[in-house]
Symmetry: C2
Subunit: 127 residues, 2 copies
């Protein structure tokens, strides 16, 4: 867990528009998960968490909550929409890593950005 | 692996339109991953695969390829688009299971269906 916390650090939320903010966040997550060792460690912790409630609690509070709260604030979206956003972005990137052993190609990251922006672009939050 | 192969079985592709086919496939995957023991087993195998090339090969050929080929045929989409579709659907559902210990709520599965249909609905394949 500490390795993951150190490897990821704070989410960069410097983008201007809502679209820039989401796009840069997705590309940042793709780059982090693609770093040597990070995807492995992430997938391992995450998989253990499926059957370990205490680990899930730590993952949710120490790892995910800071990102979730920062995103809720930056995007003006409620908790359930931000949790869905995180599931889609991180889940997709980890699944590709698990199936291929390598990070997602840029063209597919771009497709992910486009799909997510189309879904969240006209959300309830600030444009 | 054999447990997973038995638990999932063939993907149901009986839907009429492209939208019905994708929608029913996503709801089928959500129900399967939500069955007791299946999500755990899936996440475990999947996580081990990140650092085990031989297991990845088995996962890709014995488990994923039959779904991939059936979807390419049914949707008229190329391999890279179908792989992306599988990453999004399965990755999102597994991430939710890993973070909460339970299956995704119906409202979020519906959001996933809407997001995926908007992205793939006007794809290159047959409408």
């Amino acid at each position: 867990m500490d390795f993951l916390l150190d490897a990821f650090g704070p989410v960069p939320l410097a983008g201007g528009s809502r679209a820039e903010l989401m796009s840069s966040g997705i590309r940042w997550a793709a780059a982090k998960i693609g770093e040597p060792g990070v995807g492995d460690a992430f997938a391992g912790v995450f998989s253990d968490a499926v059957s370990d409630p205490a680990l899930r609690e730590i993952l949710a509070t120490r790892f995910q909550d800071p990102y979730r709260l920062a995103l809720q604030d930056a995007l003006g979206e409620p908790e359930n929409r931000v949790l869905f956003y995180i599931d889609v972005v991180v889940g997709t990137l980890l699944h590709r890593m698990g199936m291929t052993g390598g990070p997602m190609a840029d063209a597919d990251v771009t497709a992910l950005v486009e799909m997510v922006l189309a879904h969240f672009g006209d959300g309830a939050g600030p444009a």
